[in-house]
Assembly symmetry: C3
């Protein structure tokens, strides 16, 4: 595809094209990072991107950049085809969608797929080899279910979902439209509920179910548990990375994002647009306000007000935590200084 | 089911019924949390439960509560059917068992199940679609094995176990009676044993096996490794949540509980009744005494005496940790104060 | 096998045999830890091993030990067959290889294995029950693929690999020779790439792929993501434990080792021989130098120079961290001491 064709396709997109220079109007076959791109590849830069400094060494054929005089000058001098966007990363995402169109999966019910009684399959569904669909499931139109996926009874899946290989959905799980469940994820397994007694742990039956609203994505090997009663609910547009644990009865608002290895304990409630970085933990029944950001490895054990940015364990405001953790390494000096003054206290 | 029928069923149970009031003796169809229950639903409250304050707003038909005058008064005024128990949470668990009787899985060997040579199946076993049973496995009576489960060779499983979809049991794994293995868990995979050499990592063969004693439960996507020699052993009645790693050669006592994302390194030994909260780590060969509680994200790198409650990393007594971490956020002030006195030391 | 036969087999091995004493030249059937071994079992000891003190209580038939006069004396007095090695642990690994020869898996294409179009299978391949091989995959000679494994399209696997039950390899994944993928691992799933927009998260297409070089091992339930563009690459001889997350676009050098539950965020670069202990996190695009060791639960959020040993979060040099964390528990005293001097500052 020629650069001008790509520009035509991006015009009117959400990334907001501002200006462009066709230069040699190169033929673009694919995309790559700025430091790895060749002449038939497109690349991009964001403001403050650490790769800015290597724009003048890049061998890319075309670059998508922010509206920055200096970058435009370098790109022009190097002879790149270039275009500026309000959101260059989004422009790159849109370019990838154009350059790498999604493969169309041809509808098919593989002969080795097992389909229980009372199952209703929508139009144009794909069921791969060794899929197992429990009794009374409903599968929406155009949904793709890859090899080895297991649905227990009464699972309901909306239109246009994709369930990757070997993931498992437990009874009564409800999934909206356009959801993606990645490989080996487990949705709706029983919550970890045990009551201590004199002779060991007594299991609390987990009679509830999990709801994933529209456009939710769940990462590989992540687990979303069902509760004792009621539901666990993941809000529309929420994206969850790999190896994340969502406990029984958790609810999240819309458009949250959770990075890998996050763990959310039972009954916690997240507002809209909450962002949890890698390996964050959220405690039982904690309430996390709209737009909260918790940085990596943070332990959120108490409620957090909307809009806060928190870090550390126990979680405190991020700016305070940065100053505290910078001073943590002075502790030996602190103790030495005080010991000189007050020997008894620090022996 | 009418409330009086439920009370009859709970009488003599372990939750210890104390007193009750039938009120309108409501028909109960299901159960729910206090803030979500309707008139045909039962709910419960524990001492100190944060929901206590909303008892007077609840729309539940019946409530199970502790023997607390104030709560009894509110429940009576609201016209609820109510009962008091020594252990209201346990009463709720017993109520769920009555209101939601476990579905009976009809014994069946699905025609797509693969069964190796020399396999002995007990009576009334269920093998779902695409199950794969290796040579010389023994499966106890009434054990349920869901779709896609894989057993390697010589796995031995006791009576009345349930193995959920797509979990994997490696050679020689031994499982007692009444165990539950949740979806995509992996039991008996080879331990992470490599010896450093001049030309890379030399693999230590992992010739041992894993034993799960009776009534053990393993969460979804958890992994229990086998050791180089000998066994990894999980004590009777121990409950393990999702995404937990148990390293090679670990042994645990009876009735331990491990929350999600706990990691236990090779050779660690846990006593009886040890509780590890979410994301806790236990180091190589560490010995953890009976009844120890390690709070969330704790790093246990050295032996812990029986009965201790520990927190933080490195783990210290919980009460000390609470005071220390409360003071952590004063570090910038501490340094400022000392710098005023001794400029050199803190520049 | 008689002890002298074992010694013959170990002579000339990498463990470097130094001296030995046949004693009764016992018949050895298997191996065990020193505190559990019987007369027909072999065991070993390393320098500084905590089991040294129990050598004089062991019931082992034979022991592999370092060249240490004291240990030799005890072993001789006890009448053990013994041998000294430069690397006793390696000698034990080599002994296990001899005493427990790997079972040979007979080549077979199980009739329930699904094989797509254009697939090329090498010689002596094993495909277990319910395996699913996507179109245009290439499988090297002698590779073993256990039950329930799913390969998407165009996966390339080298010679002599072993893929354990129910693991999943996504399109275009490339795997070298002699690799091991443990059960339920997921290789090549789409990276967690979403661009924030006014109306939620816009998915960045993940068009890249994953490369595992020769002799790489991936633990059970671990996940290795593919990037938006380019590749995620795991260097030759790198060993990865269970439940590890490797984000999109990560590259590692040769012979790295990552313990369980490590998480590496997108774009990070590890040098050769990097060792990450359990539950370590590495941040986005961080560069970790050759030979770095990060201790357990460490959070590496900034570049680390080659050869450093780091601990804590944020990661600091290990020796400094040990002193700081030892002083952490003095924080209440520190504040008390300063408050006496300056009441205002610490109220």
């Amino acid at each position: 595809m020629r650069f001008n064709q790509l520009i035509n396709a991006l015009e009117g997109g959400e990334a907001c094209l501002q200006s462009y220079e066709l230069a040699t109007n190169p033929e673009l076959l694919s995309a790559a990072a700025l430091d790895q791109a060749n002449q038939d590849q497109i690349s991009f830069l964001e403001k403050g991107n650490t790769l800015s400094s290597i724009l003048n060494k890049s061998k890319a054929g075309a670059v998508l950049i922010p509206n920055d005089e200096k970058l435009i000058k370098v790109a022009t001098q190097r002879g790149f085809a270039w275009a500026t966007f309000q959101h260059p990363r989004l422009a790159f995402a849109e370019s990838l969608e154009i350059l790498y169109p999604r493969k169309i999966v041809k509808p098919e019910i593989h002969p080795t797929a097992f389909i229980g009684e009372g199952v209703e399959l929508g139009k144009d569904v794909f069921l791969g080899p060794n899929v197992s669909i429990g009794n009374n499931c409903l599968i929406g139109n155009k949904t793709i279910i890859h090899s080895g996926v297991v649905l227990y009874e009464k699972v309901v899946i909306g239109e246009g979902c994709e369930l990757h290989a070997n993931c498992v959905l437990h009874p009564d799980t409800k999934i909206g439209t356009g959801c993606v469940i990645n490989s080996n994820a487990v949705i709706g397994s029983e919550g970890f509920g045990f009551v201590p007694t004199n002779h060991g742990w007594h299991k609390m039956p987990q009679t509830g179910y999990v709801v994933l609203e529209n456009e939710v994505e769940i990462g590989s090997n992540s687990t979303i548990d069902r509760p004792a009663v009621g539901e666990t609910r993941i809000g529309a547009g929420t994206k969850i990375d790999n190896l994340v644990q969502v406990g029984h009865g958790v609810t999240t608002g819309k458009a949250c994002a959770m990075a890998a290895q996050v763990g959310i304990a039972g009954g916690a409630k997240l507002g809209n647009g909450v962002i949890l970085a890698g390996q964050v933990g959220v405690g039982n029944r904690v309430q996390v306000g709209d737009g909260v950001i918790a940085s990596s490895k943070c332990g959120v054990h108490a409620d957090i007000a909307p809009g806060e940015v928190v870090s550390g364990f126990p979680a405190i405001p991020n700016k305070l935590w940065l100053r505290c953790s910078a001073n943590f390494k002075k502790l030996p000096e602190i103790v030495k200084s005080l010991r000189e003054k007050d020997r008894r206290a620090f022996d």
